[in-house]
Point group: C2
Chain length 339, copies 2
């Protein structure tokens, strides 16, 4: 059984464990600072498929299947598959689910989908509805770019504050009463929109949503930045991360040296041509599953607050002059020794 | 606390109640057989907005707010808002959530979103994570048609088996230990794809998913068609409903006179030019909230099995030659006297 904490947060009677994780990334992510830590680096962006969209769905599916293989779970032993991605009608997730034969719940939180799926999956487990949950999310630079912005062939120049959509997928297997880092708390975000309408400037658009969720989390749970070994946002990039630190400081919260952003970790911003850093569902999914999870497992981090951020616009809403509604969902992952 | 039943189904220790519902529909739905039962019939498809997309988001938001007003709940008393729709990146839901200031979880199940949101909402309540959940979903004929098929101005002729996307939204307020019809069981669908690739023929594409979920439901829960006063699918329309009855009969299940489909109920198929009937998230949402819910409330139906169906393709996946993955999620709604 769960328990509500304050307005937006919750904790678990029996914190579900993250039993294992898996990930697949593109060549560029493989050349980044975390390159050696990914399970599978694709040779090219097509991954043996005819289209980038099929490649993305295959990434999502194969990372989910790889997670199952690592712990020798059969799909028929999984109670629910939770997944989402950035594509219209979350087709990467839908087509991946087609091959799995597991009861499926589709989620859309844009780039916050990893945290959203961890939240819902943990709730289903602690609520008694599932023993085992598999979750996955993905993004692909080329599918996102041509869907949200311009045809790649057009070679449009990107502004310096633009971020680079990560080609990557991450999956995690959650279970009740199992070994592994545990999910102890979480905070579900509200939609926040401070009026930014440039879909190239998502870091700045998402920073207020991240601040809103982090502050709610600290207030609801009686924690503060010093309670965590690492506070990690999903894909604010260089511009959004700086904005978040400012916003938090104005509200009396010093994130300090404990703070980092997956969009800054996945690429070498000095050497790789990614402008303000990484973005996309695959950004937090790949960084969390390849690097952060292992460090929690090894006890290097005992308590991590992951706040994945999502920009909830569509190309149509942007063309119609709408500003960008944003959200951030947060989860606390602790090493098992504390669980 | 929940309990799993078989492979795909579940029941609740304390069945959550549907405290109230609300809905808004377009002019054509207002002229249909259920016209007098809707809360709000729009004068035109723009609903006072500049674009159909804004009109759809307003429908979703206003039906959610209307549900709250009916029972005098304030948004700040609602623990979670769950919503989804058919538009790319579920913008109708995202923009509606922006105005509500309630912790938000975005869902995507295409036209199965009503059932998906009832399932997740009920699980959050019975799992102890929420006392009160607000859910809503929508579709709009003109936004869907131009997103999924052709510009309306083009006047493309529709094949006789095509369905008409309902302009409608439905919302429901769920709560623990409250008066009202209760949600007692549910079945989460698997993605089923039997190889239909024509996005005009969604009823036929979705029928196998509906059959799969209904059969799983009967097997998992030890029920059969005779256990229910009404078995209702979401939007199979004339073609899909006939296909479903055939498929079920071949598996030994006679749906008989207890079976109906929201896509057949919302329009007068003889008088209104809708070809094979209604479709869209708004189809089951409007029919369930305007008609079925009230009949459960009044005790006319004591036990209803609602299986909402969703076609999970995108225009891109169809153009790339993919077949249509489909899903159906089912919930059992019982009159309070039995709860």
């Amino acid at each position: 059984m769960g328990e509500k904490l304050g307005r937006q947060s919750f904790c678990f009677a029996n914190p579900p464990a993250i039993v294992t994780v898996a990930n697949i990334v593109g060549p560029m992510e493989g050349q980044g600072p975390l390159g050696s830590q990914f399970d599978w680096v694709m040779d090219d962006l097509l991954f043996g498929e005819q289209t980038w969209e099929r490649a993305e769905s295959k990434m999502l599916r194969e990372s989910a299947k790889l997670a199952l293989r690592k712990i020798n779970w059969q799909p028929q032993e999984v109670d629910y598959f939770l997944a989402g991605d950035l594509l219209n009608q979350i087709t990467s997730a839908n087509f991946a689910a087609r091959g799995l034969e597991v009861p499926f719940l589709g989620l859309f939180g844009a780039c916050s989908t990893l945290a959203e799926s961890i939240i819902v999956g943990s709730m289903l487990i602690d609520g008694g509805f599932a023993g085992r949950v598999l979750l996955a999310c993905s993004s692909h630079h080329n599918t996102a770019e041509r869907q949200f912005r311009f045809p790649l062939e057009q070679g449009v120049q990107r502004p310096p504050f633009a971020q680079w959509t990560v080609t990557g997928s991450g999956a995690a297997a959650l279970a009740a009463k199992s070994a592994g880092p545990v999910i102890t708390m979480g905070t579900v975000g509200k939609v926040v929109d401070l009026g930014i309408s440039d879909p190239n400037n998502m870091g700045a658009a998402m920073a207020p949503a991240a601040a809103d969720t982090l502050i709610s989390h600290f207030q609801d749970t009686g924690t503060d930045p010093s309670s965590y070994d690492l506070i990690l946002t999903g894909d604010l990039g260089a511009v959004g991360s700086a904005a978040l630190k400012d916003l938090m400081e104005k509200q009396g919260f010093q994130l300090g040296g404990k703070y980092n952003d997956c969009g800054l970790l996945i690429y070498d911003l000095k050497k790789q041509d990614v402008h303000a850093g990484g973005s996309g569902c695959g950004c937090s999914a790949a960084v969390f599953t390849a690097s952060v999870f292992k460090q929690v497992q090894e006890g290097k981090y005992r308590k991590v607050l992951l706040a994945a951020t999502g920009a909830l616009m569509s190309p149509t809403s942007s063309q119609q002059g709408e500003t960008i509604p944003c959200i951030a969902h947060a989860v606390v992952v602790e090493s098992a020794a504390l669980g």
